[in-house]
Amino acid sequence: MKLKRILLAAAAASVLSGGAAVADSTGITDTSIKIGNTNPYSGPASAYSVIGKAISAYFKELNTQGGINGRTIEFISLDDGYSPPRTVQQVRKLVEKEKIAFLFQSLGTPTNSAIHKYMNQKKVPQLFVATGASKWGQPEKYPWTMGFQPTYDVEGEIYAKYVLENVENPKIAVLFQNDDYGKDYRDGFLRGLGDKKDLIVSMLPYETTDPTVDSQILALKDSGANVFVNISIPKFAAQAIRKACEIDWKPLHLLNNVSSSVSATLKPAGLECSKDLITAQWMKDPTDPQWKGTAGYQEWSAWMDKNLPDADRGDVNYGLGYNVSKLLHHVLDNCEDMTRAGIMACAANVKDLELPMVLPGILVNTSPTDFYPIQAAQLSKFDGEKWALFGSVIDATK
């Protein structure tokens, strides 16, 4: 009898909470917005955690200035150690316990994959995820998830085109991380090669749990390749660059953009070893003096001085954190309908937005059918101190 009563009470409670979800403004009051985030503050991908730190700093400062339209931002960022089940746990905590309005810039491809379905079932926005996998832009199937940066497959395609046009008699070696992220890049690269896939002489995977990629690099060198496509996250990218340098292997080295940070990848690898690396960029490299005079750089730099004075300026991810915070700020600032669905609609309605630390000529555009905010990049070469852009902006949509 008693059990029955408790069960009835539980049923009533679940109906009530279901009713609240229809109103859909969980986490949003007239004076505050609660935003959740997961970042790898520990584990193999912890080099990216500066993004979480930058976003925290951004909203902290914004709150001292009164927040957005009178609402202060409560930004809760939890550590998931880049482990998918841990992400599920932390995100459920954010959604169900903390009652966040939406999830913002959660980092990592395997980690976001694990919560993709959950977020869409719960109808909680998963905005501007920090991963370039191509699957975040499917508004019909996943209307609550949106990407941010240029997708990996597009970047891979750009590299393939460059190799075909600029290298005589290319023999290509590929190192890739054995997961969604690595395979997205790899597949984009293969698509870019078209019917010339036999130019690849060796293609080797690594796991994030591997201690080093030294043996892969030795094998890739032995394949006699003169082009090396390096699809790895900063820790492994640095190892690969260093090892190639040590064994005196000097191919045309294409490094994926996610590891292009001078301080997180190239400095640990050795700047001398990093000379002549090529990557595709869509953000201003903070170490590149040509941006020093631009308004965007100065805005970011002043913000850094004020909020993160001790941070390493060479790390491009501080710029990324700033950019994406700016984008969210813009979206929320111009949003009338402050509900979960309303915010999602506003995020899908950004037109020609310039961000301070994004390359000139690259604009943020979204629409109800386009959930890929940034889709252009430009190639860049490392001269031993900084990245130097060359060629023109390549827009994947054109």
């Binding site: 539980a10 482990s83 993709h116 959950y118 054995n178 796991e207 749990t209």
Partner: protein
């Protein structure tokens, strides 16, 4: 502590109280907590298997993440490719994991102690990569893994998380009871005799090879069932989920809970899930407290120093001490 408790009215009563307590929990906590405890139970089931193998049979394994993965993937493949109801997959999960464990038990026969640990380690590190092999991608979903829906509530008025909690708890309780029965049987005595002195055991006429492989199979079966519930709770499986760390944590949970005990598995599972979380919270309390993993490490060292038989060992010792003055 070395042998399971005898069947006394007190044991039955306290076990009954535990079962009831477990049933009340989801009524008073939120769905999120039920989910977390469900995950703890799923680890607990796997740890129970490890306790049988290591604690009672004396064989080492730091590769139980592999059997955990086999259980999870067997369930996930049957659900996504063949449209089975999640709970209907459980018997097949048990059979599949038992078979793999039993077969792995054969080479394990030739290996003792550290060498066996190394062989199981190899299994653990190989598992994520095997799951990613392109040839199997059609079945395993490759690096993406497989996604499915959580099982529907078994009763109206229950949330999905509550329902899964109850099913997991019931299975866990039944497995604990079965383990107790197994260890109290003739076979159980043989299993423990092999641990205590393998040569004497075989002289007594115990077929050590058969018992060791069967124990390995049973242990793997438990790990597989745990893995299946883990997959249900998270509604997805992916190769990187089942990395070597899972195997290590299972072992840590087993030792912390009490490796030569049955209730220790429950404590170990809870420790696995909540230990890390509290380490995080504790280290956030003050700047002076070291970062989460250091805190966690310090706790483990203290634990081994003050409670070498795990939390359950500590509880038993405490109870024994309480009893002494009254009986004397």
């Amino acid at each position: 502590m070395i042998r399971p408790n005898a069947l006394t009215p007190k044991l039955v009563l306290s076990f009954g109280a535990l079962v009831v307590l477990g049933c009340i929990v989801p009524l008073i906590v939120e769905d999120y907590d039920s989910y977390q405890i469900t995950v703890a139970f799923s680890y607990g089931i796997a740890i129970l298997g490890l306790n049988i193998l290591t604690g009672y049979n004396g064989q080492f394994s730091i590769g139980h993440s592999a059997f955990f993965a086999i259980g999870a993937y067997t369930a996930a493949i049957m659900i996504t490719h063949f449209g089975w109801h999640p709970y209907a997959t459980l018997p097949f999960v048990a059979i599949a994991a038992f078979m793999v464990g039993f077969l792995f038990g054969f080479p394990a026969l030739r290996l003792e102690g550290l060498y066996l640990a190394l062989a199981t380690f190899a299994l653990a590190v190989a598992t994520p990569q095997i799951l990613k092999v392109d040839a199997l991608e059609e079945w395993t979903g490759g690096v993406q893994g497989l996604f499915f829906d959580k099982p529907d509530p078994i009763m109206g008025g229950m949330s999905i998380d509550q329902s899964l909690y109850y099913v997991t708890w019931i299975v866990f309780v039944v497995l604990m009871a079965l383990t107790w029965a197994l260890l109290h049987s003739r076979s159980g005595r043989a299993i423990m005799a092999i641990r205590d002195n393998p040569i004497a055991a075989s002289t007594m006429g115990i077929n050590t090879a058969l018992y060791k492989t069967t124990t390995f199979g049973i242990s793997a079966m438990f790990a597989g069932l745990g893995g299946a519930f883990f997959a249900f709770a998270n509604a997805f499986v992916s190769p990187d989920t089942f990395n070597f760390f899972i195997a290590v944590y299972l072992l840590v949970g087993s030792v912390v809970g009490g490796i030569v005990s049955i209730p220790g598995a429950l404590l170990g599972g809870l420790f696995y899930v909540f230990g890390q979380e509290y380490a995080e919270e504790v280290s956030n309390l003050s700047e002076l407290i070291p970062p989460p993993w250091v805190t966690f490490g310090i706790f483990l060292i203290l634990m081994m120093y003050f409670a070498p038989f795990g939390i359950w060992g500590l509880i038993e010792r405490g109870m024994a001490r309480l009893k002494r003055p009254s009986s004397s």
